[in-house]
């Protein structure tokens, strides 16, 4: 029953978890994932259809936004 979070009489009181190394690693992973997402979005916007990072180009009808700009 304790698995369901029920406090059973006589049960030992659960101690709150603290910030550990895993929390730091997850934070770092989240930061890098966020950076990767930003970079990939920017690069994908360059080759995506109509400047959209998630737009799929149609075969034979490749359209790149601002292709004429240098």
């Amino acid at each position: 029953m304790s698995d369901f979070g029920m406090r059973m009489p006589g049960g030992r009181a659960k101690r709150a978890a603290g910030v550990d190394v895993y929390t730091g690693l997850m934070g770092l992973a989240v930061a890098f994932l966020l950076l990767a997402c930003v970079v990939l979005y920017m690069q994908g916007s360059k080759i995506g259809k109509d400047g959209s990072a998630i737009g799929i180009q149609e075969p034979g009808k490749i359209v790149i936004k601002d292709a004429g700009k240098k």
Partner: protein
């Protein structure tokens, strides 16, 4: 697990999904762009090949054009030479034309003179034509008068012939009446000539044929004299041979140019033969 860790895990999950989505889209777009790039490169190479062929063709065409330009240049030079010659010829022609114009002016003057002469001749011819028409009319009238006069002359000739015939007939009738009157007076009576008469006009003829009439048993002769020689029926004619009298014949039938007579009396021992002479009177 700490709440912050949970939050990081959830954020990592969301970011992983987003990253996966972006990665797939990027990969697909990159692949298609690469394919398009390759196709464009192939097209570019093909275009370059076509360009090279066109350039080569252009070079050949240019060489041909240059040769044509040279040919045209030579022809232009020849044409310019011809043009110069033509200009010189034109100048000569202009001079000739000026001379010809002067000749034309002189000819026009002569033509005017000739026209005036023709006009005069035309007037003369017109007058002569009028006179010729009048002369022809007069000639026609004269010919008509001549024809009328000829007709009158012919009529007069015919009348004269008729009158002459009548006169001759009347003269013969008068002679016959005189003979009859003499016979009625009893001065002459010949048994062998009874019923016959002598002709006043003298003529000679010839015996053409001698036949014997079986019906009357009389000798008939055909003579080459007729009514045109004043022979008439019952006239007595004399047949001679040279200076010898042969026989007397009496006309029984008369035609214009011959007559038939029967033998009245014959000299002793003589007979009429073809070719004997016949006379109206004995000389």
């Amino acid at each position: 697990m700490h709440t912050l860790t949970k939050i990081f895990v959830a954020a990592a999950a969301v970011l992983s999904v987003a990253l996966a989505t972006l990665t797939m889209a990027y990969a697909v777009n990159a692949d298609r762009i690469v394919k398009e790039l390759r196709a464009e490169r192939a097209a570019k190479e093909q275009a370059n090949a076509s360009k090279d062929a066109a350039v080569a063709e252009y070079g050949m065409q240019r060489q041909l054009d240059e040769a044509r330009v040279q040919d045209l240049s030579s022809r232009l030079t020849a044409l310019q030479n011809t043009l110069v010659e033509r200009e010189q010829s034109l100048a000569r022609s202009e001079a000739d034309r000026a001379v010809a114009q002067q000749a034309v002016l002189a000819g026009q003057t002569q033509i005017e003179v000739a026209q005036s002469g023709v006009k005069t001749l035309t007037e003369i011819l017109s007058g002569q034509s009028t006179e010729l028409a009048a002369l022809r009319t007069s000639e026609l009238r004269l010919r008509t008068d001549l024809r009328e006069i000829t007709d009158r002359f012919n009529n007069t000739e015919a009348e004269r012939d008729v009158y002459a015939s009548n006169l001759r007939a009347m003269t013969e009738r008068l002679t016959e009446l005189q003979h009859l009157l003499a016979a009625a007076g009893g001065s002459t009576a010949a048994g062998s000539n009874s019923g016959g008469s002598l002709l006043s006009a003298y003529f000679t003829g010839r015996v053409d044929e001698v036949t014997l009439d079986s019906g009357s048993n009389e000798t008939l002769v055909r003579l080459n004299v007729g009514s045109t020689d004043s022979v008439r029926t019952d006239a007595d004619l004399f047949v001679t041979r040279g200076a010898e009298w042969i026989a007397n014949v009496r006309v029984v039938q008369v035609d214009l140019n011959y007559c038939v007579a029967r033998v009245v009396v014959t000299a002793a021992g003589r007979a009429i033969q073809v070719g004997d002479t016949v006379e109206s009177r004995l000389q």
